[in-house]
Structures are given as structure tokens and as C-alpha cells.
Subunit: 322 residues, 2 copies
């Protein structure tokens, strides 16, 4: 192995697919592969797929040397022993030693971290976070995940499970979240909840929904309404779509104001599927956050769009060993 | 100065009084003095009073040497330059160099920190936190303050303002808090709000209040209802007082579950005036927190009473230099 290794392998293990990439020291992805995760077949199957993905991208590296392997995976990655616990939607999963298995398999250095934390780290090194030493990273997609960057590094918390921004309750009597709590911001603005809510409103709960173009954009089927549908409708000038997205942004702003008051971190970087939404949504996040944080924080609230998109997971995982 | 200094001076600068103490390395307070803060006369007056308080407790130290002076004060103590900003209820206060002034005045090492953080540090070193490397410290009194201890040290946050547990919003549409946000847990359970709420209920808003002994305990004047009144009534078996205190405890538990999900810290230590409340109140905090935190945290939720009482401020301030 060279003293100045030219690349690392990053794995982004999701519920349906494992994305693997060769990542250079500057953050460029120079080779990629995607394998099905087989999460329903249990940890052995997932680890075998991960090993295949690693072999595939390493194979394209030619004579270049590998600095190691970084793994991003949902769930809690224990800060003390590196075991992966509680990845949601992974079957038969107890405490699994992903790190040890892949180290023994490859002989390379392996570091494992929660996937949202990896994406946060990628933004910190190579994305929107490069200008900020401290920020709250939000992945706003199917759910709402997050990571906290303090002094340029992931704030893992004592057990490795810090940064669950989606499970900040913004209304103690709010709707039940899949986590068992009530009023979590995820339960209002996560993709599945947001879409259900829009469908309910369009089906008559709120008169403002009548005449909206959203249903047409979803082919007449409320179940097919996705945040992207809302974004397109909003960009086409649909006032109802704008309302719903602004309201969702404001709810995220409420949660972020609480996080800012706890951590004294006032910069938020928003990634994930919904981050492709029009600018006014991020403005709604920032306006609400600014109006609610403690006075000394007001002038320093900044909300920015993540820059790395889908590759943040791979790049951040590789950053763990780069 | 000796290499093993036998004492430090701790100052707890509050809105009405400055408490000063000589504190030995083991945390014992070996001498004390109290001076009025004169907060309404501006920073020069406050600093002069602080210098008097220091001189007074140093005077009793005999030949013992002093390791330095620790200052606890409300507001944000900047992490970068140590300036004290925004102490609530201190008149004519901009950014004040408390540290520099007292260092020049005494020639001793001076460290300044937010007062709630000082109390948290005192509990970490010498109180209920001595068994916990990581905990959320709550001062539940007139307001709701807090401090975060990670790895035995104060988590200040990048700007020095972290740990504002009282300003976790538990209902985005809740009552307006003095900070400008809505639904902050302080706006439900801080002493002034709690008392007002009880008075309103007793005056007829809720039938459950009728027949309660609370009003008698407050001499018939709803404005004189204090948390202690509630505690006494609850201990005497008054069901309404028990309800109100349990409900307040549960609200604190909601806020703490959010803090736990963000920080991955599941131990809470509760101090301040209301912490003298009966055990069932702390149980209500713990039960609610446990029912709401993310599943991996459930088994590790612990809520304990602070041990150091009123002296936590002095002892914690001294700990900054001990």
C-alpha cells in the first residue's frame, strides 16, 4: 500500500441496493457498481453482496492502491465496537459486525458509519458544508434523517446514534410516528406522510385543494403523488402545491430551531429527494427557523441545499478512510 | 501559586445576588459570601460587586493558595473570546469582558461559563452526574435551563450557547414563550407559567380544580401559588396537585426525548427549585421520555435528581479552574 493512497472504496448500503464506488482523494467517483442488497434474506446475504460490490469496483482500479473501505448503512453504528444495530427494514438483523467481516474478507482497513452521517461528512468535505465548520445535515426523503457536523467531524454522540433530526417532535399530541413517538417532524413531512396528506386534502378534506393541478400530474391517482409531483405543480404556479411545500418547509424549520437551541449550530444543509424542491421551500425552512431560534442565533441562521445528490453516500463512506 | 492548589474561588452571578465561595479540590465549600448583583446599574456595577465578593472570600483563605477564579453567569459565554453576551435581566449589557476585567483586577486565572453549564459541571464532578459520563442537566425553576455533559465535560457548542433545554418546542402552535418561539417546554413548566396555569384552572377553567387544597395553601391568593405549594399539596394527597405536577413532568419528558434523539444521551439529571418535588414527578419525566425516545434508547433512559442544590453554581464555577 502506498503512503499516499490514490483511492478508497465507498459503500452505501440501502434497503434495496448497495451502491459502491471508487473515490479519489479529491472526492471524485472514478468507478461505480450497484448490487441488490437482499436485505430480506438476512445479514449473511447482505454481507456477501457487499463483498461482491467491493470486488467489482476494486477490479476496475488497475494498479492504483486502495486506502481502505468506508461503509454507510442505516441504523446505529455503535461508537464503542462498530457493530451495526437496528437498520430499519433489514431482516433477521441483531448486532452485526459488518466491519470485522469485510476486513477479514478483504484485508483492508474498514470503517462503518450510519448512512446519514456519511452523507453529512461528504457535504462537509466536498459539498455545501465545505464553507461551514458546523452544520446540521438533513436528508429529507422518504423519511427525515440527519447528521451533525461539529468542527468538521461527525458528532456521533456517546453511543453512536446522534443526529436523528427526523425524530424531533414538533407537537407532543401530533400524529403517531413509525418510531412510536408523536408529532415527529418526519411524521409530517417525510415523503410517505406528505403524499398521504396531500391525497387526503385533494379528496375533499380541505376546499383549497380543489382545482389543483396535482392530481392531473399524478395521473389522477392520489396514491401516486410524490414530492416531485408537488414540486412540479408548485413550479407551474399551483398555489395549493406551494402552500403544502411551504408548510412542510416551515415544519422542518420548527424542528431545526429546536436543534439549533440545543447544539448552538445555526447552519442547516438540506439534501435528499425533497431538496430538489423550488427555492421557496428552503426559504420557508430558513424563515421559520430564524423566527424561532433564541435571539442570539437569529442573525446566523443559514439554510442551504446539499450539493452532492445521490453520490453523497458513496463519497461520504469513502471519506471515512480517505 | 502552588503546583497543587488547595482551593479555587467560584462565583455564581445571578440576576439578584452574587454568591461567592472558596471551594476545595474535593468540592467542599469552605467559605461563602453573598452580595447584591446590582444588575440594573449596568456592567461596571456588577463587575465591582464581583470583585468585592472575590476579595471577601479570598480574605478568609489564610495562607492557602488560590488556583484561580471560576465565574458562572446567565447568558451566552462566547466559546471563542469568553465575552458574556445577552444575560437576561442585566441592564445596559452588550458584550462584556468579565474574564479580562477580573483577571486584571486579581492577577489570577479566570474562566467564565454559562451558569447552567457550571451547575451541570458541578453535578458531573461531585453530584448525581459522577456516575455518568454523559447526561443532560436540567435546572427546573423560574425558567428551564440546562447544560449538556459529554465525556465528563461541558458541551458548549461552536458558539458557546448550547444546552438550552428549556427552549425545545413541544408544540409548534403552543403558547408564546418569552424567547419569541412557541410551545417551548419552559412556557409550560417554568415556575411562572406553571403557577399562572394552576391559578387559571383553580379560577374555574377546569372543574377538576374545585375542592383542591392548593388555594388554601397559597393563602387564598392564586398569584401566590408556587411549585412548592403544588409539591406540598401533592404530598398531602391532593389529586389535582398530583395531576398538574405529573403533567409538567411528562412535558419535560417530551422535551428530553427530543434532546436524547438528537444527542444520543439518555441520562437526565434534574435540579432547580422544582427538583425538590415528590418522586412521582421525576418518574413522570422518565416514563414519558422512555415512551418517546427511539427504540434503541428505551432501555437506557435514566432520570435522577440533582444532588448539589443551591451550591451547584459556586462549586461548578470553581470546577472550571480546579
Amino acid at each position: 500500500m502506498s503512503t499516499n493512497p490514490p483511492y478508497a472504496i465507498g459503500l452505501d448500503i440501502g434497503g434495496t441496493s448497495i451502491k459502491a464506488g471508487r473515490v479519489a482523494a479529491g472526492g471524485e467517483v472514478t468507478g461505480q457498481a450497484v448490487f441488490p442488497t437482499l436485505a430480506d434474506r438476512g445479514p449473511d446475504a447482505v454481507l456477501a453482496q457487499a463483498a461482491l460490490a467491493i470486488a467489482k469496483v476494486a477490479d476496475g482500479a488497475g494498479a492504483a492502491t486502495c486506502a481502505g473501505i468506508g461503509i454507510g448503512i442505516p441504523g446505529i453504528v455503535s461508537a464503542s465496537d462498530g457493530l451495526v444495530r437496528y437498520p430499519p427494514n433489514f431482516a433477521h438483523w441483531g448486532d452485526v459486525d459488518v466491519t470485522g467481516f469485510l476486513h477479514r474478507k478483504t484485508g483492508l482497513r474498514v470503517v462503518t458509519e450510519n448512512d446519514a452521517n456519511c452523507a453529512a461528512l461528504a457535504e462537509a468535505r466536498f459539498g455545501a458544508g465545505a464553507r461551514h465548520r458546523n452544520f446540521i445535515f438533513v436528508i429529507w426523503g422518504t423519511g427525515v434523517g440527519g447528521g451533525i457536523i461539529i468542527d468538521g467531524a461527525i458528532f456521533k454522540g456517546p453511543g453512536g446514534g446522534a443526529g436523528e433530526i427526523g425524530h424531533v417532535s414538533i407537537d407532543r399530541n401530533g400524529p403517531e410516528c413509525r418510531c412510536g413517538n408523536r408529532g415527529c417532524v418526519e411524521s409530517y413531512i417525510g415523503q410517505r406522510y406528505l403524499s398521504m396528506r396531500v391525497a387526503a386534502i385533494l379528496e375533499g378534506e380541505r376546499p383549497s385543494g380543489r382545482g389543483s393541478a396535482i392530481l392531473d400530474l399524478a395521473g389522477g391517482d392520489p396514491a401516486r403523488i410524490e414530492p416531485e409531483t408537488l414540486s412540479r405543480a408548485a413550479e407551474a404556479g399551483d398555489p395549493f402545491a406551494r402552500d403544502i411545500l411551504s408548510e412542510a418547509g416551515a415544519m422542518l424549520g420548527v424542528a431545526l430551531s429546536t436543534v439549533a437551541n440545543i447544539l448552538d449550530v445555526t447552519t442547516a444543509i438540506v439534501g435528499g429527494g425533497v431538496s430538489a424542491a423550488p427555492d421557496f421551500v428552503l426559504r420557508a425552512v430558513a424563515d421559520e427557523m430564524r423566527s424561532r431560534v433564541l435571539r442570539p442565533h437569529r442573525d446566523s441562521v443559514v439554510v442551504e441545499r446539499a450539493l452532492l445528490g445521490n453520490q453523497a453516500g458513496i463519497v461520504g463512506a469513502a471519506s471515512l478512510v480517505l
